[in-house]
């Protein structure tokens, strides 16, 4: 392809492109839909997570399930409390993973 052919093709391509579109209220519509703040405030999430963890700890404090389960798990005994504790930990880890992935996707 010689330079003049290239220029002709470029000129024809440019003539097919209409160029920038007129605003005609588009920017106003977008601004109306724009959230007030770019970043979501983080403290309610962390506050909620801490409150939830504290509530769980208080609820399980009087129950022997956690202590028994943990003790038997550490000693390598696969009793019902140990499996329950393991399943609860896997469940919480999975939930945290799903939440983390969803948050990363939204950012």
């Amino acid at each position: 392809m010689n330079p003049s052919d290239d220029e002709l093709i470029d000129a024809l391509l440019r003539s097919q492109f209409d160029g920038p579109v007129l605003d005609e209220g588009f920017s106003r519509r977008v601004m109306q839909r724009l959230p007030q703040h770019r970043r979501r405030v983080a403290w309610p999430v962390w506050g909620g997570a801490l409150a939830g963890a504290a509530a769980c700890w208080l609820a399980l404090l009087s129950s022997p399930l956690l202590q028994t389960g943990w003790r038997e798990w550490v000693s390598g005994e696969w009793s019902a409390p140990a499996i329950t504790v393991l399943l609860a930990m896997i469940g919480m880890a999975l939930l945290a993973l799903i939440w983390g992935v969803a948050e990363a996707d939204h950012r």
Partner: protein, 191 residues
């Protein structure tokens, strides 16, 4: 070139204002400066589907507002926006099932007809439709929107070599398709 550098500086200043204080006025200025080309890019990618293109353009700017801190200044702000718009287009494209049968003809009907289209322009438009999607997309960004090969590679998330290959092949195919016009022009010049 100097103009383009000045424009880029203005964009960077506006971006900094948005990042520092969620400045909506600064974002509105960015929006007004770039909406025209982003909408034109999406209209072309969607073969003239104005409504879908404007929906995607709106999504692009809402996403840009949320993800502005990811703009690191490694490209011009406009180039970064085209990249966001192209990602929105690809994501929407995955959700829309391709038309069944006669896709090329269907697309031909929806393409915006240039005003006072000459025979050459119509033939050229037909030749464009015969190019692969990648070639059309690369030529749109490199020639029609005036981006450099490097910028097009950034927008399309393609290796630079691939962009150059698509551009060269696309132009070569267009030239072959328009060979008849070249011959006619040469005969006319000779006579």
């Amino acid at each position: 070139m100097a103009d383009s550098a000045a424009e880029a500086r203005v964009d960077r200043a506006l971006v900094a204002r948005v990042l520092l204080g969620d400045d909506r006025t600064a974002f509105e200025q960015l929006l007004r400066r770039h909406q025209g080309m982003v909408r034109a890019q999406l209209r072309r990618l969607l073969h003239g589907d104005v409504a879908t293109a404007d929906d995607l353009a709106q999504e692009t700017f809402l996403l840009a507002w949320r993800k502005l801190d990811q703009f690191r200044g490694e490209a011009r702000f406009s180039t970064w926006l085209y990249r966001v718009a192209y990602s929105c287009f690809l994501q929407a494209n995955r959700k829309i099932p391709p038309p069944v049968g006669g896709a090329d003809e269907g697309e031909a009907e929806r393409l915006p007809a240039p005003e006072e289209a000459t025979d050459l322009q119509l033939d050229f438009e037909r030749a464009m439709r015969r190019l692969s999607k990648a070639e059309q997309t690369v030529l749109l960004h490199c020639v029609q929107m005036g981006l450099s090969h490097e910028e097009a590679a950034y927008v399309l998330a393609m290796p630079l070599g691939t962009v150059k290959t698509h551009a060269t092949r696309g132009k070569a195919k267009l030239k072959t398709s328009l060979a008849v016009w070249h011959e006619a022009a040469r005969v006319e010049e000779a006579s």
